[in-house]
């Protein structure tokens, strides 16, 4: 049975927590007003999360972007289906000397001059749909789909790592302050002082030969986890510092004082009181981080410090395609377009999410929607 003070703590945040959550969303004292205003429109009233959800649903561009992103993810998840049942080849299988029979015509996958076959679309039953990738004659479509899996894996998992590290460090640093804050902040400063790409290249190249050995954990140099961890770590300060700033502000709020007065433990204050108030910031950071991570992965892989060949990622495909930029620009354009679409869709959705969670942007949104009455006639 928990001590009395903790029992009180579980109940205490309810009145203050709502206000605090509003604070986290940046709507603090206006929260009730918004709820009432929306209820006055005849729509279902609710908490700030529900309101944010409604705002997001109204943002068609953000939803369209989300749909694009999901479509890309689904396509990439279906890579083995395409590889095994359509293209009949693997992402790293070479076809340098093979010939393709198309409408009774024999075409070389790689010409003696080294030039690879171009897109065949469905002429060869889906084989070499987007052509072959240069001198090795690998199926570009299969590599694109598998490459997307790598890029998305790195983008999402690295964002999770960044979030986990940043939230933990931000909470510790912002809540405890003093020496803990100084220690964590200086470490963040050190990482921050390196340009992200340079730090990524340095770590990527250092780990490219022997892999990563951390106690019982041994990651091979070809492991996708290496670029994932690198990207996850190098972006941590960019999320941890703003979170720390927010926590510094939040810990001075009355609801925290109330929790402390009620004898809530530090862990409870951090994870039950503070964390929910950071959720909107964390969610927005997380989505935008996915896009940034994918771009950094592409940059590192292009420079040879990210995903290691022959594994494909969109970055490595751009790098490989760059060798044939003049004669076969499609080899660069295709993965480049894939990155563009994915990053754009995540960014646009992330912006929509921020708009939905940020009341200031709500004002703009509502004004655009012609429902700015609440601003003119505050309750």
């Amino acid at each position: 049975m928990p001590p009395e003070s903790e029992k009180q703590g579980t109940e205490a945040p309810i009145p203050t927590g709502t206000g605090a959550l509003d604070a986290g969303l940046g709507i603090e004292s206006d929260g009730a007003r918004v709820v009432e205003a929306e209820a006055g429109d005849g729509r279902q009233a609710g908490g700030p999360w529900r309101i944010a959800g409604r705002r997001l649903r109204r943002n068609k561009v953000a939803l369209f972007s989300l749909a694009i992103f999901f479509l890309i993810v689904i396509c990439c998840l279906l890579a083995p289906v395409w590889a095994n049942h359509v293209a009949d080849t693997g992402p790293n299988t070479t076809h340098t000397l093979e010939k393709l029979h198309v409408n009774g015509e024999v075409r070389e996958v790689v010409e003696p001059s080294g030039k690879a076959i171009g897109p065949q679309w469905f002429e060869a039953g889906g084989k070499f749909f987007l052509g072959a990738d240069g001198h090795l004659g690998r199926d570009e479509m299969v590599r694109l789909l598998y490459g997307g899996r790598s890029s998305l894996f790195i983008g999402i998992v690295a964002a999770l790592i960044t979030t986990l590290l940043a939230v933990t460090l931000g909470l510790l640093s912002g809540y405890y302050g003093g020496l803990t804050d100084t220690f964590i902040s200086r470490i963040m400063d050190v990482i921050w002082s390196f340009p992200v790409v340079l730090l990524g290249i340095a770590l990527g190249i250092a780990l490219a030969v022997g892999g990563l050995k951390l106690g019982p954990i041994h990651l091979k140099s070809s492991s996708l986890w290496i670029p994932t961890l690198i990207i996850g770590v190098v972006y941590t300060p960019y999320m941890a510092r703003p979170l720390r700033g927010e926590i510094l502000a939040l810990r001075e709020k009355e609801f925290i004082e109330a929790a402390v007065a009620q004898g809530a433990s530090d862990r409870r204050i951090m994870f039950i009181e503070l964390l929910p108030n950071l959720l909107s910031t964390i969610i927005v950071f997380f989505t935008l981080n996915i896009a940034n991570n994918m771009l950094l992965e592409a940059t590192l892989s292009y420079l040879g410090a990210g995903v290691q060949p022959p594994s494909s990622s969109w970055g490595t495909m751009i790098s490989e395609g760059f060798d044939a930029l003049y004669s076969q620009p499609i080899l660069t354009i295709i993965p480049g377009t894939a990155i563009l679409l994915t990053v754009l869709s995540v960014n646009v959705f992330g912006d929509g999410l921020r708009d939905a969670l940020d009341p200031k942007s709500k004002v703009r949104f509502e004004a655009r929607a012609g429902t700015a009455a609440e601003m003119d006639n505050p309750v």
Binding site: N92, T93, T94, T96, L97, V110, E111, P112, S113, G114, K115, G134, H135, L136, I205, A208, V209, G210, K220, S221, S222, G304, Q308, P309, P310, D323, A324, L325, Y326, S327, Q328
Partner: protein, 566 residues
């Protein structure tokens, strides 16, 4: 009235003389042409042999700055091509193409060395009255200093000279000089005593490493501070990472060139080389005439286009004496098993790799490349994947994990990827490691690097002698902990002995036959999986005379052979 006809007569005589002198230019005598510079490789001066012009400024580009612009230290084709017109060794290679270019001729030495004492003593005489580009006389002692400087700077070329008496000791102490080299400044006599006969020594005396330089030259890299020249051109400027420039050596025409008539004097007055990283831009610049010559071949992406458009007029494919191969570390599993090495040889298909290299290699399956003395075509392992799989099954190493090493330079990275696929196909589990080309050979040359199983390498001749392919690359005695070149760590005592024996003999028909046998023996041992010999190319602008341009098998483009068209 009398003055006018006399003046006209003098003017007419001067004009006739000028035309006559210009027409006699070309090969060996080019004097008095004033430099003229302008944008985009300017032309000027008189007519050269073969319908070319004398004078003008040649503009060229390299993709990267050579390792060093210092004759004792540079050990790359980039460096040797760049310094070939500047520093002349006692012996040198004829400025000619193909086999003729492998002929050793006297350079600063009056004649070829007199070899006595059972092949252990070489005696030469320095030509008289030679001068460096700064006017200082060239002395016999400068040769001795050049050899010592090789050791003082820890040059990669120093192992070529460790058989000189006292050199081994000097390499350790760096003090006291090399006792095996005796010079007489008055007579110009140079006597070199060797510990044991060395059949390749004349070739090694013709390398840039031992080109005489002034003895006051510091024993440290002088890439940014050009050393005075003994050849037809001198370096006026050298900025590592950016480029360098040449002008005619004023003492070449007056002194040196008159004696060294077999060394061409060059046609242009100035040469300006810039480092231009983007190879596609280099091609564009040559097409537009902004550049007159590029060191590196067109990028693989544009190779065919350039070939189709300019072959015969501005573009020429040139052979190299080189071997591209996959080494297999014989000291550890699974490549300590000969069957596995044979399986790899059967599985690797040179025809596929020809495509990977966009036609810039010609498939071979042996150590010695075509053009090298001792080369006799053999093909012990015709492509047969089924047989390869059988051999792997017999050897009992199926699913053994191996690491494939290659560098990131295209298409070597693709060759590594292809090779990894081949190993996986025959039943091994291969992981690919691609390193930056700048440190690739350092990493795989360090025996403490983990998982040195197999990988890509290539070797271009240092000099046209088959020993250059066996002694460093396959002799067990040459295995080193660091800077190792015997990547397969091949160590077959009987073959080591054979290499050592042949190394002491002067190259002749009998030795060439024995080198051919050695080539076959190493391939039977399946020490490597060789897959090709590289072809390079010469690409010049429209206003450069391609016909007279010389491609030397060791020094590649002879800059002294490039001339503007009439």
């Amino acid at each position: 009235m009398k003055k006018l006809p006399f003046f006209l007569l003098v003017a007419a005589l001067a004009a006739v003389l000028a035309v006559g002198l210009a027409a006699c230019g070309g090969g060996s005598s080019t004097t008095g042409t004033s430099p003229s510079t302008s944008e985009g490789g300017s032309e000027g001066g008189g007519e050269a042999e073969g319908g070319g012009k004398e004078g003008g400024t040649l503009k060229g580009a390299y993709t990267s700055f050579p390792d060093y612009m210092d004759p004792q230290i540079s050990y790359t084709a980039e460096g040797w091509t760049a310094m070939r017109p500047v520093y002349v060794p006692l012996l040198t290679y004829k400025a000619a193409s193909e086999e003729e270019g492998a002929e050793i001729i006297p350079g600063l030495a009056k004649e070829l060395p007199k070899v006595t004492n059972g092949g252990k003593t070489y005696t030469m005489f320095l030509r008289e009255g030679l001068k460096y580009s700064n006017g200082e006389p060239i002395k016999a002692g400068d040769f001795k200093y050049a050899v010592e400087r090789c050791f003082l700077t820890n040059s990669g070329g120093s192992p070529f000279y460790t058989d000189i008496v006292g050199a081994e000791q000097f390499s350790k102490t760096k003090k006291g000089g090399i006792s095996g080299i005796k010079v007489n400044e008055k007579t110009g006599e140079i006597v070199i005593n060797l510990e044991k006969p060395r059949g390749t020594f004349p070739n090694e005396l013709a390398l840039m490493f031992v080109a005489p330089i002034p003895q006051k030259t510091p024993a440290e890299d002088q890439s940014a501070h050009p050393i005075p020249a003994s050849g037809p051109y001198y370096l006026t400027k050298s900025e590592p990472g950016r480029g360098w420039e040449y002008e005619r050596n004023p003492y070449w025409a007056k002194d040196n060139g008159k004696q060294m008539t077999e060394i061409p004097s060059g046609h242009v007055d100035k040469i300006e080389i810039e480092v231009l990283r983007n190879q596609s831009t280099q091609v564009n610049d040559v097409e537009s005439g902004k550049l007159n010559w590029i060191f590196d071949p067109p990028p693989t992406d544009r190779y065919q286009e350039v070939k189709e458009k300019f072959e015969g007029t501005q573009f020429r494919i040139e052979p190299t004496i080189s071997t591209y191969y996959f080494w297999m570390n014989e000291t550890q599993e699974p490549f300590n098993n000969q069957k596995v090495r044979e399986a790899v040889n059967y599985a690797v298909d040179p025809a596929a790799l020809e495509r990977v290299y966009t036609g810039q290699i010609k498939g071979t399956q042996q150590i010695l490349p075509p053009g090298m003395p001792g080369y006799e075509k053999i093909e012990l392992f015709p492509h047969d994947v089924k047989k390869a799989k059988e051999l792997i099954a017999e050897s009992g190493v199926k699913d053994k994990e191996v690491t494939v090493w290659t560098d990131s330079e295209s298409p070597n990275n693709d060759a590594g990827t292809y090779y990894q696929g081949v190993l996986n196909e025959i039943g091994l589990k291969a992981e690919l490691k691609i390193l930056n080309p700048d440190n690739y050979f350092t990493v795989i040359g360090n025996r403490s690097t983990p998982n040195l199983d197999t990988g890509f390498s290539d070797w271009f001749e240092d000099y046209p002698h088959p020993n250059d392919f066996f002694d460093i690359l396959l002799n067990g005695e040459s295995i080193q902990d660091t800077n190792n070149q015997n990547f397969s760590q091949t160590n077959v005592p009987a073959l080591n002995e054979k290499i050592d024996k042949l190394a002491e003999e002067q190259l002749g028909p009998q030795q060439e036959k024995e080198y051919a046998e050695l080539d076959k023996a190493f391939m039977e041992h399946a020490a490597w999986a060789p897959y090709g010999t590289r072809t390079l190319s010469l690409f010049v602008s429209e206003n450069i005379n391609l016909e007279t341009a010389i491609w030397n098998p060791t020094f590649e483009t002879e800059l002294t052979s490039l001339e503007f068209k009439e």
